[in-house]
Amino acid sequence: MRRNQAGSDDRVKREDLAALLPIFGIILLAPIVANLFLTRSSVSGLPLDLLYLFAVWIFLILGAMWLSCRLPEITHPVEKTPDLENSPVDTEET
C-alpha cells in the first residue's frame, strides 16, 4: 500500500517535471537570460553565445530523454476498434 502511494507520488512528480522542462527552457532562452551570455568572449575558439544556446538545447534533449522512459504509459481513453484500423482498403477507381 505504501509502495503504491510512493509510486503514485513519484508519478505525479515526474509529470510535474515534464511540465517544468519546457518552462525552464523558455526561461533559459528568454532574451533577458540569454543576453547575459552575449559577452563577446569565446571558449576554445567558439563564441560563448553560440555555445550557451547549444548547451541549453542539449540540456532540454537530455531532460526529455530522461523523462521519456519515466513518464507513465499513455492510455487511450476511448476504446479502439482494432478490426477497422490499419487495414487500408483499396478504393482506387477501377
Binding site: 532562452l29 575558439g45 477497422l84 487500408p88 482498403v89
Partner: protein, 911 residues
C-alpha cells in the same frame, strides 16, 4: 562543374527511388501490420519533414546574415517536443478519439463540427502554404543553377529557371497523386509516403552532416580555426545586437508552426499510429534538429571568409564543396536539398488536398444533391479521390504561380516566415480548443479571420512589393493615403522589425477577439458537447458515449451511405462487427444510436467531422431537435442530481439539528437535577429553623404560665431562628440576582485598597466580639480597578467574616495582604484556624457546601452560599477567587482582579 543533364537525371533517378520505396512500403504495410513502418524511429524521421530546403540551404544564409537567429527556427519546435506530455499528447489523443483528419477538421470538430470554420481554416492554410511550396521550387531551381553553373552546352541547358520549376512541380504532383491518394483511409494514413519521407529525412541529415564535416574538418581545420580565421578576416563572430523581440517572435512562430502547419499536423498527429511514439519523438526530433544545425554557423563563417564577396550565402552548402573540387559531395548535398524540398511539397500537398476535398468540395457536393439519391455505389469515395487529385495539382500549380510572381525577391528565409506567421493564426484557436471550455465557434471564427486579415495585410501583401508597383505605393503612403494603415506601420507602429510588427498585431488581435467574443456569446448545444470531449479528454472514462444522433434511419439507408464513403467491404465489416443486420431495404429496423455515433466517427475519419455530420443528418431525419432535446434532458438530469444533492445536504442538517437538540435536552435534564438538589437543600435549610420556631411558639401558646426566664429564652431562640431564616432567604435572592444578571450592576473606576479598608472596618466590630486580631501584612497602597465597589466589598467582608467565625484557635488571627502582580491586583486573606479539610478543598465554592460544623457558633451558622456568591461576583469582575496555601496554618483565600488598564497606562505615562 557538373553537367546539367547529369544533375537532372540524378534528380529524376532519386524521385524514381522514392516511388520504389513508397511502393514497397505500401506493399509491406498491406501484408504485415507489425512492420518496421509502425515504429517510433520512422515516426520521428517523418516529423523531420519540418526541415525543408529553407532549413537545408537557408539556415546557412540566415547564419551568415543575422547570426544566431537561425537557431530560433529549431529551438521553438524543440520546446514543443520536449513538452510533449502536455500539448502533443492531448492533441493526439483527441485526434485519435475523434478520427481527426487535418488541422481544419480538428478546429471544426471542436467548435461544433462547423463547416464555415473548416472552410476558413482550409483557405488560410492554402494561402499561407502556397508561398512555402514556391520556396521549395525556388530552392530546387537555385540549387540546380548553383551546381551546374553557366555556359554549359547540355541538351537540357535550354531550360530556364521557370521551366525547371515547372518540371519539378509536375513530378511532385504526380508522385503525390500516385501515393497520397491511393485510398480514403480510416485515419488518412499513408504508410508508403511516410516511409519515403523518413528515407528523405535520413538523406538530408547525412548530406548536411557530410558537407559540415567536410567543410569544418576537411577545409577549415576545425571549428575553432574557422572562427579564428573569420575574426582575422574582419568578420564579427559574436552576436552583434542583443536578442530581442525578433528572437521571441521567431521562437513563437516556429513553435506554433510545428503544431499548426498542415504538413506537421498531418505527420505528427494524423499519421501517428501509437501515442507512445511521442515518448521517443520527444527527444529524438530535437536531437535531429540539433544535428541539422550543429555545422550551420561554421559553414557560414567559412563561406564568408573564403568565398568571393557577393556570392549567395544560401547556397554555401553546395558551392563550398564545388569550389574545393568535390563535385560528388556537391551532388550529394544537392540530393539532400532536393530531398528536403520534395518531402515538404509531397506532405504539404497531401495535407492540403485532404482539407480542400473534405471541407470545401464535399460539403458543396453534399449540399448540391441529396446523397441518398440515385448514383453509383461508390460516388462519394470517388468524388473525394478525384477532388484530392485535382487539388494536389492545383496547389502545386498555385505554388508555381507564386514562385513566378515573386522571382525578384532574393532571400529564402522571409518567404518561410510569411508562411509560419500565416499558420500561426491557428494557434490561439488550437490552444483554446485544447484547454478552454468556454471558447466557442463565434470567437474562434472571428479571431482567426481577423488574425488572417491582419497577417495578409502586414506580411503577405508586402511580399509582392518587388513585383507590383501598386503594392509598393501602398507600402509607402498607405491605402488611399491613410498613413496609419501602412502594412508595415499599422496604427503608426513604425521603426520596428516588420516580422515582429506583423506577428504582434495579428496574434494580439486574434487572441483578444477570440477571448472576448467567446466570453460574450453563447455556445451551441453541439459545441458544448464537443468542448467537453476535447478539453476533458484526459479525464473521461472510456464508457462515456458522447453525442448520438437519434432518428428514424433504417439500416439499409445507413449502409447505403457507409458503403458509398467507405467501400462495400469496410462498411460490411463495420455493420457485421457491431452486430447490426443490414437486412433488405424493406426492413424498417431501428438502429442503435451508439452505432450511428460509431459510424459517424468512421465517416469522419475519411471525410472530416463536419462533412460526416452533414451526411448523416441528411440521412437520419430530424437530428437537430433530438440533440436539443438531449441537452434539455441532460440539463434536467443535472437539475435532478443537484436537487438530490440538496436533499442530502438538508438531511445532513436535520441530523445535526437532532444531535444539538439531544445535547440541549441532556443539559436541561442536568439543570433540572441541579434545581431539584437546590430546592431540596433550601427546603432542608428552611425546615430546621421553621421547626424550632413552630415548636417553641407552640410551647409558649400552650403553656402561658411558663417561668419568665424560660419564656424569654424561647422568644430569643425564635428571634435568632427568624434572623437566620431571613438571612437565608436574602442570600438565595442575592444568588438568584447574580446568576440571572443584575440590572443595576455598574462598574466604576475605584481604588481596590479603599474597598478593602472599608471591608476591614466593617468587620472590626465582629472581630472585637470574637476577640480576633486583624493583622495587616504588606499592602499595595493603590490599586485602580474598574469594578462595582459594593459587590467587591461584599466579597471581602464575606471572606474576612468566614475567617473570623470559623477560627477555633486559642488566639485567633486574620492576616490580610495585598499587592500588584503585573496587571493584576491580588488580595490574600488567611487565618490561623484549622483550615479547610481536604475533602472540601475542591468543592468549597459550590452551593451549600460547609466545611465546618453546622452547630451554632456565636449565633451564626454558615449557610454554604457565601463563598458561592463571592465566587460568582469575582468571576463577573473577570477576576478569580481561589483557595491557596498561605503562610498561616489555616485557610488562605486569594482574590485576583485585573487592574484598570486605561488608568494604569495614564499613570505610567504621567510618571
Amino acid at each position: 562543374m557538373l553537367s546539367l543533364d547529369f544533375v537532372i537525371l540524378t534528380a529524376v533517378g532519386y524521385i524514381g527511388l522514392l516511388f520504389l520505396i513508397a511502393y514497397a512500403s505500401d506493399a509491406i504495410a498491406h501484408r504485415s501490420k507489425g512492420s518496421f513502418l509502425h515504429s517510433p524511429v520512422v515516426y520521428t524521421l517523418s516529423i523531420a519533414v519540418y526541415c525543408t530546403s529553407w532549413t537545408f540551404y537557408g539556415a546557412v544564409g540566415t547564419a551568415a546574415r543575422s547570426g544566431l537567429e537561425f537557431t530560433a527556427i529549431y529551438i521553438g519546435p524543440t520546446l514543443v517536443f520536449v513538452g510533449w506530455w502536455f500539448l502533443l499528447r492531448k492533441l493526439i489523443l483527441i485526434s485519435h478519439a475523434q478520427r481527426i483528419t487535418s488541422v481544419a477538421d480538428f478546429l471544426s470538430s471542436r467548435f461544433g463540427k462547423s463547416s464555415q470554420l473548416a472552410v476558413l481554416v482550409t483557405l488560410i492554410a492554402v494561402i499561407s502554404v502556397t508561398p512555402y511550396i514556391a520556396l521549395q521550387l525556388k530552392a530546387i531551381t537555385s540549387s540546380i543553377q548553383a551546381v551546374v553553373g553557366t555556359g554549359n552546352a547540355d541538351h537540357l541547358a535550354a531550360f530556364d529557371e521557370l521551366t525547371l520549376a515547372l518540371g519539378v512541380a509536375v513530378c511532385m504532383a504526380l508522385f503525390t497523386i500516385l501515393f497520397g491518394t491511393r485510398n480514403v483511409d480510416a485515419r488518412e494514413q499513408h504508410l508508403g509516403v511516410v516511409a519515403a519521407i523518413a528515407f528523405e529525412a535520413v538523406v538530408k541529415l547525412f548530406a548536411l552532416l557530410a558537407v559540415g564535416i567536410f567543410v569544418v574538418y576537411g577545409l577549415g581545420g576545425g571549428m575553432g580555426q574557422i572562427y579564428e580565421n573569420a575574426a582575422a578576416a574582419g568578420f564579427d563572430i559574436y552576436e552583434q545586437s542583443p536578442l530581442g523581440s525578433r528572437w521571441v517572435a521567431l521562437l513563437v512562430l516556429s513553435a506554433s508552426a510545428v503544431i499548426c502547419l498542415p504538413r506537421q499536423f498531418q505527420i505528427t498527429v494524423v499519421e501517428n499510429s501509437d501515442e507512445n511514439f511521442l515518448r521517443t519523438a520527444g527527444w529524438a526530433f530535437p536531437t535531429y534538429l540539433l544535428l541539422m544545425s550543429v555545422f550551420t554557423a561554421p559553414i557560414a563563417f567559412y563561406g564568408l571568409t573564403t568565398m568571393p564577396a557577393g556570392s549567395n550565402p544560401d547556397m554555401y552548402v553546395l558551392t563550398l564543396p564545388m569550389e574545393a573540387g568535390y563535385d560528388s559531395l556537391a551532388l550529394f548535398a544537392f540530393i539532400g536539398g532536393f530531398s528536403s524540398a520534395t518531402s515538404m511539397i509531397i506532405v504539404a500537398s497531401i495535407a492540403l488536398s485532404i482539407m480542400v476535398s473534405n471541407h470545401i468540395v464535399l460539403p458543396l457536393a453534399l449540399r448540391g444533391s441529396r446523397v441518398s439519391e440515385e448514383g453509383s455505389d461508390r460516388d462519394i469515395a470517388r468524388l473525394i479521390l478525384r477532388s484530392r487529385r485535382i487539388s494536389i495539382a492545383g496547389l502545386v500549380a498555385l505554388g508555381f504561380i507564386y514562385f513566378w510572381l515573386t522571382q525578384g525577391s532574393d532571400a529564402l528565409a522571409p518567404i518561410g516566415l510569411i508562411s509560419f506567421a500565416g499558420v500561426a493564426q491557428f494557434l490561439p484557436a488550437v490552444l483554446a480548443a485544447l484547454y478552454w471550455r468556454t471558447a466557442n465557434l463565434k470567437g474562434a471564427f472571428s479571431g482567426t479571420l481577423v488574425g488572417f486579415i491582419v497577417w495578409a495585410w502586414t506580411m503577405f501583401l508586402p511580399s509582392f512589393q518587388a513585383s507590383s508597383p501598386w503594392v509598393a505605393s501602398v507600402m509607402q503612403v498607405g491605402p488611399w493615403g491613410i498613413s496609419w494603415l501602412r502594412p508595415e506601420a499599422l496604427f503608426g507602429m513604425s521603426d520596428i522589425d516588420p516580422l515582429v510588427h506583423a506577428v504582434f498585431w495579428s496574434l494580439l488581435l486574434n487572441c483578444s477577439i477570440l477571448a472576448l467574443v467567446s466570453v460574450f456569446s453563447a455556445q451551441g448545444a453541439l459545441e458544448r458537447l464537443q468542448s467537453t470531449l476535447f478539453v476533458d479528454i484526459l479525464r473521461r472514462s472510456s464508457s462515456f458515449q458522447p453525442h448520438t444522433i437519434r432518428g428514424s434511419a433504417t439500416t439499409s439507408e445507413l449502409f447505403f451511405v457507409a458503403e458509398r464513403v467507405l467501400g462495400w467491404k469496410r462498411a460490411n465489416d463495420l455493420f457485421h462487427a457491431a452486430g447490426v443486420s443490414r437486412a433488405g431495404s424493406a426492413a424498417k429496423l431501428d438502429v442503435p444510436p451508439e452505432f450511428i455515433a460509431e459510424l459517424e466517427k468512421e465517416l469522419a475519419g475519411s471525410i472530416g467531422s463536419a462533412s460526416a455530420h452533414i451526411l448523416l443528418t441528411s440521412v437520419v431525419a430530424g437530428d437537430a431537435i433530438p440533440l436539443e432535446e438531449a441537452m434539455r434532458i441532460a440539463d434536467e438530469t443535472q437539475q435532478a442530481i443537484e436537487y438530490s444533492h440538496q436533499l442530502e445536504l438538508t438531511s445532513q442538517e436535520l441530523r445535526t439539528t437532532a444531535q444539538q437538540l439531544q445535547d440541549a435536552n441532556a443539559m436541561l435534564q442536568e439543570l433540572h437535577r441541579q434545581k431539584d438538589d437546590f430546592l431540596a437543600h433550601v427546603s432542608h435549610e428552611i425546615r430546621t429553623p421553621m421547626t424550632s420556631i413552630r415548636s417553641f411558639s407552640e410551647i409558649l401558646l400552650s403553656e402561658p404560665d411558663l417561668p419568665d426566664d424560660q419564656a424569654n429564652r424561647f422568644i430569643s431562640t425564635i428571634h435568632n431562628e427568624s434572623v437566620r431564616l431571613t438571612k437565608l432567604i436574602e442570600e438565595i435572592l442575592d444568588l438568584s440576582v447574580l446568576e440571572h444578571g443584575e440590572k443595576e450592576w455598574v462598574n466604576r473606576s475605584i481604588n481596590g485598597e479603599d474597598v478593602l479598608d472599608e471591608a476591614i472596618g466593617v468587620c472590626e466590630a465582629l472581630a472585637r466580639k470574637q476577640s480576633v486580631t486583624i493583622e495587616m501584612g504588606q499592602r499595595a497602597g493603590y490599586a485602580p480597578l474598574f469594578a462595582n465597589a459594593g459587590r467587591l466589598s461584599q466579597v471581602f467582608i464575606n471572606i474576612i467574616a468566614n475567617a473570623m467565625l470559623h477560627n477555633e484557635a486559642p488566639r485567633p488571627r486574620v492576616h490580610v495582604t495585598s499587592r500588584l502582580e503585573g496587571d493584576r491586583y491580588v488580595v490574600e486573606i488567611s487565618d490561623n484556624g484549622k483550615g479547610i479539610p481536604e475533602p472540601y478543598r475542591y468543592t468549597i465554592f459550590d452551593k451549600f457546601v460547609r466545611a465546618g460544623r453546622s452547630d451554632m457558633e456565636g449565633g451564626y451558622v454558615g449557610l454554604g452560599l457565601g463563598l458561592n456568591i463571592s465566587h460568582t461576583i469575582v468571576a463577573k469582575l473577570e477576576g478569580s477567587l481561589e483557595l491557596v496555601r498561605g503562610h498561616l496554618p489555616g485557610a488562605c483565600f486569594r482574590v485576583s482582579l485585573p487592574l484598570d488598564q486605561t488608568i494604569a497606562k495614564a499613570e505610567a505615562k504621567a510618571s
